[in-house]
Amino acid sequence: MAREIYQAIVDGILIGGVYALMAVGLTLIFGVLDIINIAQGILVVLGAYLSYGLAARLHIDLFVGLLITVPAMFVLGVAIQWSFIRPLRGRERTSMTLLVSYAIALIIEGILYEVAGPNVRELNAWYVTKSIHLFGFYLAYIYLFGFVMAVVLVLALYALLYRTGFGRSVRATMQDETAARLIGIDTNRVAALTFGIGVAVTAAGGMMFGATNGGFNPNSGYDLISRLLAIIILGGLGSIGGALAASVFMLTLQSLVDIWQPQWATAVFYAALVLVLLVRPTGFFGRAPVRAQ
């Protein structure tokens, strides 16, 4: 039994890395723009399809392919923000973004069905199925690489937000958009770029999702979105490090429950969210609201 528990913990940590890659973009967008991006799930799937296209058609390695898919998704993110999100104004903006992002999800899903069809695709590379034997466990390279990428990505986003002028603009916009505009920050530009970055990092999550999920098709995003939202709320809305911590926590908890009763795993996933929020309403790393104006 001890070995099963250790295995579950290892699995949870590694799978948590994959979920973190899918969730950081969502929490970044939420933190800066107050937008609940329901389209995050389908954007993950889109990222997987882009990686699939490069690997299958051009034989480009999955990780190398990110050099193409990340910028491409960035451009898409900016375009989505500019076209669909930016025009939303007023008191109902946050709730309206729910509907708009859901519509975006349906549009992208429809396009993917049209272009790629319903058949299941899977991303393959030598490291997807190979593993290394460490401490008595076989650790799949794809999960190890993914976890390292998740940590690096989180650190890079922190560096961007706290070590650059753009990051200062982002944080100023987050704290008080009106004040930021008054001191000369182009908040529309900040919003577009932030949305673009959030979508861009999702390309990495999409690649990992496609390589570890046993296959994906245009519909695969719908099982994801509720989990990703739970993760970013647990981590603290807008907290990038919190998304990583919450991913690891939730997936480890789920893996442990899987040992005894897999049917309870999903329920425990959400029960944990409720319990944590009862004790700490702002999640692991969330702060008291400072945006109230």
Binding site: E4, Q7, A8, I15, L28, F30, G31, D34, I36, T94, S95, L98, L106, E109, Y113, P118, N119, V120, E122, N124, K130, S131, Y138, A140, L155, Y158, L161, M174, T212, N213, G214, G215, N217, P218, N219, Y222, I225, S226, L229, I233, G236, L237, G238, S239, I240, G241, S255, D258, P262, Q263, A265, T266, Y270, L277, T282, F285, G286, R287, P289, V290
Partner: protein, 433 residues
Amino acid sequence: MGRKIPWLSRKAIAASAAAVLSAAMVASCSSSSSSSSSSSTTTTSSSPATKAPIVIGASLSLTGDFSTDGINYEDGYKLWASDVNASGGILGRQVELKILNDNSSPSQVVTNYQTLINTDHVDLTFGPFSSLLTTPADAVVARAGYAFVEGAGGAPTVFNSPPNVADHNIFDVSLPIADEMLPFVNYIKSLPASQRPTTAAYPMADDPFADPPVQLAQQMLSALGVKTVYSKIFPAEVADYKAPADQVAASGAQIVILGSTDVPTVAAFMQAFEQQHYTPKLFLCAAGPDQGSAFLSAVGKGNAIGMMVPNGWYPGFNDPASQKLITEYVAKYGGSASGVSADVAEAYSVGQVMAQAITATGGTDNAKIISYLHGNVTLASVQGPVKFDSLGENAVSDAFVFQWQTGDVFNQVLPATAAGSKTIIGTKPAWTS
């Protein structure tokens, strides 16, 4: 990571929590439905001016979790309608299909059949894909007095549902699933004691189609002395299977019988097994390997070798009508014969059985059709003979086990003595990625 990005209003937190709950409800209630809307596609052939077409309604999962199967079913229905119309229709009437998309959602499928029957006033109904959707759909169809001829609702829960027990209107042209793994159990039983596997694992998706045959196989293998080392049910909509698959690998079971509903579930288990350097001696899945080219493209041709699935039909079925169907399908949609999904034949069989009932009863009176189909008649289909018992199960279909073998061929292997069976690969080769 000392500083964190701050903070949002309580209103935003509440809104996001509501979003989580909403999304969770969508995921759980709809088996990952993609939307609540339905779309309509109609296949119409040139209708003779003198006779109205026979309009047949069906709800299919053109998007959502079952979309691969649903689209295969659509191909099968359309291929049948095309063939019928090309030969002059039924009783001189052309066939018109009205197909609505249910997004793999048990609630949407109910709405769709209500629309088809109460708004569109279709003459007849064909079934949706999966037992999960057939049961709720029949509540509507039975209430309206329609015959419900279907090919993918073979779970015991379908036949024993209250509407069907009361109205006896379901007719499943395919193999009832409860006993479908018996050829595999008998194969294990036939092995000399020294060669018989001693341990087995039974991971199952929580689905009315996937679980019953696996549980019956577990019960029978246990009686043969095959020790159960893993037997758990996981949620059907679970997004990642690595943890349960790793547990199965850690068990070292010689036999794995996976209660799967689709290709991704099987592919995820195969991937995790390979990562864990674990290859079961025998690997049987409730569904997935029967998906032809969709399965091969997802798992790879090398890894597919040795994978098994029970069913009542396969592309190599030595029947003239079946071979004609294969030829037509490949000509229309491309690919190879081995890549044709069993879904296509199941759907085509639904049409064939309904056509014979219409012809025999002289029209589209559903009461007469129900009575006729329960009249102990044996009907022909591309899957073989069809004869319904009192609850609409196909009482004369035979269960086979099929296996992917070298050369990308999908062969019937069990029962070993059955006509057309090839030699089973008794030990699955190591993974080849």
